[in-house]
Each structure stands twice: as C-alpha cells, then as structure tokens.
Amino acid sequence: MQSFLSQRNKLISISVLLVVSFSNFWIYWIYEKNFFLGESIIIETVLLFLLVINNFTKVISALILIILLMTSIYLLTNYFDKEISSPSTIESIKIRQRRQFYAPELGKIYTNRFGIYYFDNLRLIFNKLSSNFFSNMDLSVYFSPRTLIDREKYALFLSPLFIFGFLSVLGKLKAILFIYLLPAMFVSSLLELDSTLHPLLMLPFMSLCITIGLIKLMKVLKDLVIKKL
C-alpha cells in the first residue's frame, strides 16, 4: 500500500476516508442510536486504514482489538439477539411438525437425548448463526437493499470502488481478517439490530475498501493523464 501512498499524502488520504465514512446515511443512523458507538466506529475506521498503510504496527493492531472488544461488549449487552436460542412461534410449529419426520427416518440417531436436543435446538441455532455470519458478506446488504423497508447504506455507484479497493487490499487481507473482520462478523451475527443499522461493525471495512478503491482509481487516472502528456 505504501507504494502508492507517500507520507505526504497520508493526511489527504485520511481526509478522503473521513469524507467516505461521513458521506453515507448509515453512520448518521448509528450516531442517532448512540453517539459513542458512532465515534468508536469512526475511530476504528481510521485505525484500520492506518493499519493498512503503515504495514501493520503492533500498537495499531492492539488499539483496534481493544476498541472492537469494547464496542462488542456494549453491543452484545444491549442488542444480543435472544431469538437465536429461542425459536419464534412459526419456528416452534415447524420444529414440532418435523419431529414426526425425523423419528421414522433417523431412528435412534434422533430418538436419544442428544439427537432431540440437536434437531430441536442446536441445529436451529447453528443455522441462524451461520446464515447471519455469511450474510455480512452479501454486498446487496450494503449497496442494493432487498426490501422496501431496508435502505441502502452506501450509494450504488460506490460498489465498483469497493470491489476495486477490496481487490487491492486482498494481499494484506490475512491480517485484517484476523485482527478485525472475522471477530466483527462473528459479533455481528449475534446481534439483533434493525436492518438499517445492521451489520454496523462492517462499516469500517466497507469504508476502508471504498477509500482505497477511490485512491487507486485516482492514481490510475493520474498515470493515464501523465502518459498522454
């Protein structure tokens, strides 16, 4: 990343990052919910960006982890999705119906204490968790809402910049993945937030990729102009 970002341009880049971070409604909805939550998300965004451009210093990594931990504790205490472990009425009906299918097909695999517990409880929890976890990766959540109730978190025209930026940081994704992305995705999958806010812990990564995409694009365009001249 340093190859295309000189020390002189770091401040400008951070400014671009802040413009990207504040030029969407998502962050304001987060601020509306809780001011400190919004602040920590913005700080996390900047730190993540510094982590990428400064070749992963230990101090920044530790700071990211501490803020993520604190934010996660706050979110889990206040917005833990209780429906993960307790099924809704429709799910309960379905579970009851399905008991009569499992028993003749699976025999003793189902009709023992662990089998019943797995099919009636654990399977549902695991399915919900894995679905929540991987839905963080669904770009339509961020750029193109699925329902009329959902609102787009970023403008659709930013999606190519995100993809461009995402491909650029892929080489360094391993570190971001373990320091921020995986824990953030895991915590997100445990939260019950309305669709406008969810998954708010992904905002730093999304803004990071869009910014890097934008910077890279500017560089490509600049090179093209210089070449022509």
Binding site: F101, S130, S140
Partner: protein
C-alpha cells in the same frame, strides 16, 4: 501420485453416484407431471415409434401447453426398455448425467489451468484443484437436487459442460473443435437455455481465441457447418412457432417498450448474481431449492469471493470462464420469473467451478496441512449432514404433495374399485392422465387415438392446449362434470379443492376414502355417487 489422484476421483464419483441414486424411486416422493410425460412418450416410442399424440419421432414433444426438448425423452427409451415403467427409469438419465458431470468438472478444471512452475502452479496443484471441483459438484445442493428430478436441463448441462471441456482442449488439439461444436449443437436439443447460449457462445469463443485458430480456418468452418447441421431440425419447425412458444409463455418480450425491455432484462439478469439468492434464500419451489438450504451452502460465499478474486488475477488465462459467467444467465434473464435456477444450471456449474477455485485457495492459505484437512473435513461432514437432513428427510416429507405422491398411492386404492367408473378431477394438474397411463403401461396406440382427436391445432403450433381427457381402463381423467354425480357406480376423486362440504350435500356424495400425503395432510379424496338422490340442476 497420479494413481492416488485417480483413486480419489473414483471415490468421489462413487459417492456422487450414491447420493444421486440412493432411493431415487421414492425421493422426491411422487412423480412430477413433466417426468411422467417424458416417461410415457419414451414408452410410446418404444412400442409405436410415435409419441402419445401419434406424432412419429417428434423434433420436440408436445406436453401440457408447451413443448419439451426431445433428447431426454429419446434417451429415456433405454432405461424404460430395460427397467420398465417406473419412477426410477424416468429419473435414471438425469441422475446418470449428474454423476457424469462430476468427471467432466474434473476434466474441465484440469484443462483450463496451464501448469506454470514459476507461478507455483504445478501438475499436483492442477490435480488437487480438479479434485476439489469434482467433490464440490458432487455435493452441491443444486447439483444433487436437479440430478434427482426428471428434468432435461440436467442432460443439457452435462452435454454443454462436456462441449466446454472440449472447446478448452481444442485450443491445444485443434481437431476437438469439431466434436465440441457437435456436442454444443446436441445440447440445444436437450434444453431451452442452451439454444440461446450456444448461438452467442460459438462466435464469441472463435473471436476470443482467434489467434489459436489462425492457421485452422477450414477446421473452424467445418465445426460451424456441423453445428449448423445439428440445427436443421429446429429450422424445420421454426415457422410453426412451436420452437418459441415456451419463450413467449415465460418471457416478457411481447408488449414491452424497448426501454422497459432493457430495464426488465437487466433486473432479471442481475438477480442471478445476488449472493442472497445463491447462498441464503431457501425456497420450496420446484425450480429452486430444498427446505433450509439455498442453491449453495451459505459458507460457500467465502470461497466464491476468493475464487472470483483469483479469476480476476488470471483474467487472460480464464477468458472462457468469464465469457461463460456473463453469458449463461442470459436465457433466464429473458424470462419473467424471479430467480429460477432450473433455467440456469450452466451458470450454477460455472459458479461451482469458481467456488472450487476459492476452496483451494483458502486451503492453501492455512499453513498447517493437518489443520487444513481437519477444517475441510469438518465443513464437509457438516455440509453432508445438512444436505441429508434437508433433502432426504425434510424435502421428501414436506414436498410430497407437490410431486403428486397421493396419485401414486391412489393406484393401489383404485384396485378395489375395478367394477366402478372412476373420474379423477384434473382441473389443477394436467399430468394425472399421463402419470396413470405410464404406471399402468397403458396401450400407447389407444392413448394416441384419444389424444390425437383432442388436438385443436396441428402438432407443431404456437398455440397448444394444456389439458387433455384420458380414459385408462375404467378411469377417466378430466375436469369434474357435476351432471355425472348422479350416475350409478361412479367414484369421483379430487384434491381438497374439488368438492366442498356444500357440494357434497348438494350432490349427495358419500365419502369413500382419503389419501394422505407424507406430511400427514389430505392429498386426495374419493367420493361415491348416490343415484337414488336424483340429479341436481347444474
């Protein structure tokens, strides 16, 4: 090492065969109308050389208001001849194609990547990647789901995938281009989507790889000529409108302004790239998925993204993959249905290849091979368990009504009413008659006589009637005629919507039997008539 890879491939293929053929006759529970149509037409062809409407060796088969592509029916004559008129025989070809696709995937992935030691792409890497591709296709929810249905789309995909493999190989061995063109042409007789894809793919392929064929112009012309020959049957019926009737039935091209047309097409086309539809949404529609699972397992989104990134990096080498990725959803995008995977099996196969590449790349990322193996083993075990529960248990029970399970059970029940005239209401399912005729091995000559007289238009036509009246021994299959309810020794059979409580009282119908679907809900109800009650005014 080579022997070891072949051994693993053999194991994967056997596993794929087991997953596709295990209880094939009873899961899905029932027999869909489309499958019954293909099965009976095959039976009719064996005995008379004509389909059930009396048409000799049709180019496409008339059925339920549209036409079924021909190849599946012709090839199904073999299992029907050997195995008899059973559900297993009708589904056999699709399951076999699904198994063969595993081997084709292995070959395709092996041929698409060049060995480049400098780029850390060894022969071993190539083999491993191909094996991962084979196992991913073997157990992907969509591949298992569609392989176990009597659908011509699966045959279309297998021939199409084989032709794609040969197209890739033809870049080195030029003569294979001719066989690839022949197979591509054949695939257009197997399913609708391939008709459009092949016409766009062939010139695009020649253009993209024009450098490879510079010195082989004659060969290219010969290939194109062979492809053109395979299209002669279609050309012969083009004027009748029969070839495009399905396109107009499912599409939106008529009555749309050009601007709207582009807009609708883009929306419908992009729907197929939505991760939500591919990895998360589960639906119970025939064209989609099984309970609780989407087209792919949701964890596959991660390798899909990684695979896509790798394909971007190798853009030049994987040109054909990108071409197919953009081309294959076009036919489905031209239809009005929202996300209908049945029409995009070629696209789903391409996505599976990208996912396989991603799985391999993720596997490579993990430094300890022991941990990588343990992790992939766990993911595989959990995926297989989910597949088994969703398909072999939940789908079997919860979708039995959709596949007409009760009509199969009805056959046994009706044996005790041999002295009565039975009327089965066909108002909501046009496939009851042909299903019954197939299982009863009813004389195709008699059926041809009955159906030919009901044709309102010529065999190949843009207007096709969907409902036909069948008489199979003492069983008449037609929409219920209330004036018959006072006749002596009549049994009326219908679903829960056929006869209401009020109708029962008005027409003095007596409940004879109820047939339950596997989910415990009433599927069919039989009533007997009471002539003493007199005929009510209708």
């Amino acid at each position: 090492m080579k022997r070891f890879h072949i051994f693993i491939l053999l194991l994967i293929t056997i596993a794929a065969i087991l997953v596709r053929f295990y209880n094939l006759d009873s899961i899905p529970a029932g027999f869909h109308a489309d499958g019954a149509s293909q099965g009976y037409n095959a039976f009719s062809l064996i005995h008379t050389g004509k389909d059930r409407y009396g048409e000799s060796f049709p180019i496409i088969f008339r059925a339920f208001g549209y036409y079924q592509p021909a190849l599946y029916t012709y090839l199904t004559t073999i299992p029907v001849l050997i195995l008899g008129n059973s559900v297993f025989a009708a589904r056999f070809l699709s399951a076999l194609c699904g198994s063969i696709l595993v081997l084709i995937t292995y070959l395709f992935l092996k041929s698409i990547f060049k060995v480049d030691e400098q780029d850390r792409f060894s022969k071993n890497t190539q083999n491993r990647l191909a094996l991962i591709g084979a196992i991913t296709v073997a157990f992907s929810p969509w591949a298992v789901f569609f392989s176990r249905l009597t659908i011509e789309a699966n045959l279309g995909l297998t021939i199409f995938a084989l032709s794609m493999t040969l197209f890739v190989l033809s870049l080195k061995k030029k003569y294979l281009f001719i066989i690839a063109c022949l197979l591509l042409g054949l695939s257009t007789h197997a399913y609708y989507s391939e008709r459009l894809i092949s016409i766009i793919f062939l010139p695009a392929f020649i253009f993209l790889f024009r450098g490879n064929f510079k010195k082989n112009t004659k060969l290219v012309i010969l290939g194109l000529f062979i492809f053109a020959i395979t299209q002669i049957p279609h050309a012969l019926i083009l004027q009748t409108g029969a070839l495009t009737v399905r396109f107009y039935q499912t599409g939106y091209v008529q009555s749309q302004s050009p601007f709207n047309l582009v807009n609708i097409f883009l929306n419908n086309y992009l729907v197929y790239y939505s991760p939500n539809n591919l990895f998360f949404d589960s639906d119970t529609n025939l064209g989609r998925t099984m309970p609780g699972l989407s087209v792919f397992f949701n964890w596959m989104l991660a390798p899909f993204i990684v695979g896509l990134w790798f394909c971007v990096k190798k853009l030049n080498e994987l040109k054909i993959l990108w071409l197919l990725l953009s081309l294959t959803p076009i036919p489905a995008g031209l239809t009005g249905d929202f996300f209908y995977p049945l029409r995009t099996l070629d696209f789903l196969w391409i996505l599976t290849l990208i996912i396989s590449i991603g799985i391999y790349k993720l596997y490579e990322l993990i430094p300890s091979k022991k941990i990588a193996l343990l992790l992939s083993g766990t993911v595989f075990f959990y995926s297989f368990l989910s597949l088994y529960i969703s398909y072999f248990i939940l789908f079997k029970y919860e979708k039995s009504a959709y596949y007409g399970y009760a009509y199969i059970k009805l056959m046994d029940k009706l044996n005790s009413y041999k002295d009565k005239h039975i009327v089965i209401d066909s108002a909501r399912d046009p496939g009851i008659g042909v299903r019954l005729a197939y299982f009863k091995r009813y004389d195709p000559g008699k059926i041809q006589q009955q159906l030919k007289s009901q044709l309102k238009t010529s065999y190949y036509s843009s207007s096709v009637n969907a409902y036909d009246v069948y008489l199979v021994d003492n069983i008449e299959i037609k929409p219920l005629d209330w004036s018959e309810t006072c006749k002596k020794d009549y049994i009326f059979v219908g679903d829960r919507l056929t006869v209401s409580d009020k109708n029962m009282v008005e027409h003095s119908l007596k409940l004879e039997f109820e047939i339950l679907n596997l989910d415990g809900k009433v599927g069919l109800i039989g009533y007997s008539s009471d002539p003493k009650a007199g005929c009510p005014e209708v």
